[in-house]
């Protein structure tokens, strides 16, 4: 306890921070994530879909290739000109799939974000306040959880009409039940830890405690749950469209594509297989990534 403290004053804060760097948590997580082969596969699939969706217009023009009918080229098999063949109206299936990816990913991600915002508010309030407030909020959530997701989404779309915005809201609300439970239990498990008590003991104010001590430590399960919810919602988008409750016919939505191809399914199975595979691959990829994140974000697995 008597080491010379003279040289301490000579070094500035910045120099110290440079000399003794933090171990990058992101890098640690990345290392764990990469060790999981399947999660990496999922991430690659998602990246491909995202890139295809981003550059969809560069690869194939929406109006002329994905939407406009071209009766001459009907029902063609896969070829270099049409990678996945064409459908009953002569539209390039590959072009429709990548434009469909735009719709699915956009609705999938945005609806989860909507759900997330509500769930965080609801879950954190219930978890942090506890007591009667918790009881009332969670009973309402229990009731919401009793209605099947897809049924709730259909009800909302049926009531407000089937626009993309309505679908995002419908699917977002449908995710609240499960998501807010995750948030609440995460908050509960952190709320009573001793480091939160320690923050109270030094006189830290409540908003600071909630944000920098509680929510920061809840991020992991929330991210994992969100990733898995994206997978579910991508499928729900297609299910709704398949049922005719979602994106309307000419738009290249995957579920919609399957629905219109049903009549010719026997002769031209590719019309169904291609969008089917797209749905399967994206939702599987998000599930794999979700599992990988669960391992990577779990601090308990660190030694």
């Amino acid at each position: 306890m008597s080491t010379p403290s003279v040289d301490k004053k000579t070094m500035s804060r910045r120099e110290y921070m440079k000399t003794y760097r933090k171990t990058s948590r992101l890098k640690e997580m990345w290392d764990v994530f990469v060790a999981n082969r399947l999660a990496v596969l999922g991430l690659i699939i998602i990246t491909i879909f995202v890139l295809l969706a981003l550059f969809a217009n560069v690869i194939a023009d929406y109006d002329t290739v994905a939407i406009a009918s071209n009766p001459v080229d009907r029902f063609q098999g896969p070829s270099w000109k049409h990678l996945l063949g064409t459908d009953e109206m002569g539209r390039d299936i590959f072009a429709r799939i990548i434009h469909g990816a735009r719709i699915s990913l956009r609705i999938g991600v945005l609806s989860v974000l909507v759900g997330l915002v509500f769930s965080c508010i609801i879950g954190a309030t219930a978890g942090y306040l506890g007591g009667v407030a918790d009881d009332i909020i969670m009973r309402i959530i229990d009731i919401m959880a009793c209605i099947p997701r897809i049924v709730m989404a259909i009800a909302i779309v049926a009531a407000f009409g089937s626009s993309e915005f309505n679908m995002i809201m419908a699917l977002g609300i449908a995710t609240i039940a499960s998501m807010s439970r995750v948030v609440r239990s995460a908050v509960l498990s952190v709320r009573d830890t001793e480091y939160v008590e320690a923050a109270k003991a030094v006189g830290q104010n409540t908003p600071k405690i909630v944000f920098s001590h509680i929510l920061v430590n809840c991020v992991a399960p929330i991210i994992v749950q969100s990733t898995l919810a994206i997978a579910t919602n991508v499928m729900s988008v297609s299910s709704l469209s398949f049922l005719g409750m979602g994106i309307a016919a000419p738009a290249p939505e995957w579920g919609c594509m399957i629905a219109t191809a049903r009549g010719n399914m026997r002769q031209y199975p590719f019309l169904v297989i291609a969008p089917g595979m797209a749905i399967f691959l994206t939702s599987m990829a998000f599930n794999l990534v979700g599992d990988g994140l669960r391992d990577a974000l779990d601090p308990k697995l660190k030694r």
Binding site: M1, T3, S5, K8, K9, S12, R13, Y16, M17, T19, Y20, R21, K22, T23, R25, T193, E194, Y195, E197, A198, A199, K200, A201, V202, G203, Q204, N205, S212, H213, V216, N217, P299, K302, R303
Partner: protein
């Protein structure tokens, strides 16, 4: 005398409502601590020692009673006043794993507290204070950016102590600060707590179940059983002349790491009874070999049998004169 008393606890009670009734965690506990001294609170799990410590800091709201710290009644303070007062009273936790925010580095943990004191406006000054505190608790400066999971239990506990000291408190409640640590590390931390007390003039409440530790660090010892304070005396007195049958049994149950001067064990039968709605009789009566009718009729009061030696037992009479 009263000028020297830093903390005075009077009739402190904390009851918890449970489904099966009222749980008397702390039941009518009173004691005082002098400035710069250490009061050890010992007892077995469920005796209310932790709740006592938390109630004094109002981390749990006491059901009734007063806690007078440095002339102010803590129990009457508003939330804002309490927040200020808490800067002078700190807490060190048992588990160095769960008491640190896993997402914060050593520097961030200590600096958060320093920011709250508002004493250091300049970021570089504040930073050098962080370094000073780290040196005080024996943390190497290369750990400045380490996360809790990158340190072992002993270092984590040093950080926990550093966080408490950053407030420049006068009084610290140490809740089993060494029981999660290995003996060699435990000794390091105990020595450090002792020398910090001398350097900074701190007052401790030291909560533990380990009698050899409490013997080493405390000036006075209070023994608790089922929410009640049953004996309190100076450490020498308590170890030399324990009067309450439970204290006697507790002392004799302590495994001594020596082959010589061994004493005969007093084994007490049975286990601690339920703290839920206890009957108004001596709480130790069911396990006591000396139990009489009087013990089953009422609760024995805490009496000063000799100067600074308090016992709550019908079998022990105050010295005459």
């Amino acid at each position: 005398m009263s000028d020297n008393v830093i903390l005075e606890v009077n009739n402190l009670k904390k009851y918890f409502k449970t489904r099966s009734g009222m749980l008397h965690a702390v039941d009518d506990v009173s004691f005082t601590i002098e400035r710069g001294k250490t009061l050890g609170i010992v007892g077995e799990s469920g005796c209310g020692k932790t709740t006592t410590g938390r109630s004094i800091l109002r981390l749990v709201e006491p059901t009734s009673g007063t806690v007078i710290f440095d002339g102010t009644d803590i129990t009457k303070l508003s939330k804002r006043e309490l927040r200020k007062k808490r800067q002078e009273m700190q807490l060190i936790f048992q588990d160095p794993f769960s008491s640190l925010n896993p997402k914060r580095t050593v520097c961030q943990t200590i600096e958060e507290v320093l920011k709250l004191t508002g004493e250091y406006k300049n970021s570089d000054e504040r930073f050098h204070r962080v370094l000073e505190i780290m040196e005080m608790v024996g943390l190497d400066e290369r750990l400045i950016n380490a996360y809790p999971h990158e340190m072992d239990g002993g270092r984590r506990q040093r950080l926990g102590i550093g966080r408490a000291l950053a407030m420049k408190p006068k009084f610290i409640v140490c809740d089993e600060p060494v029981s999660a640590l290995d003996v060699s590390i435990q000794a390091q931390i105990l020595n450090m707590l002792r020398s910090l007390q001398n350097e900074l003039g701190l007052t401790y409440i030291f909560i533990t179940h380990d009698l050899s530790v409490v013997n080493y660090i405390s000036d006075d010892i209070a023994v608790m059983y089922l929410g009640r304070l049953i004996e309190k005396a100076s450490t020498e007195e308590l170890f030399r002349n324990p009067l309450h049958p439970y204290t006697k049994a507790l002392l004799s149950a302590l495994p001594v790491p020596s082959l010589h001067n061994r004493q005969k064990r007093i084994l007490i039968k049975g286990e601690i009874s339920s703290p839920i709605d206890p009957k108004p009789v001596c709480r130790f009566a069911a396990r006591c070999d000396h139990c009489t009718e009087a013990c089953l009729k009422g609760e024995p009061p805490l009496v000063e049998v000799s100067p600074n030696h308090f016992v709550s037992c019908f079998m022990v009479q105050p010295e005459q004169g």
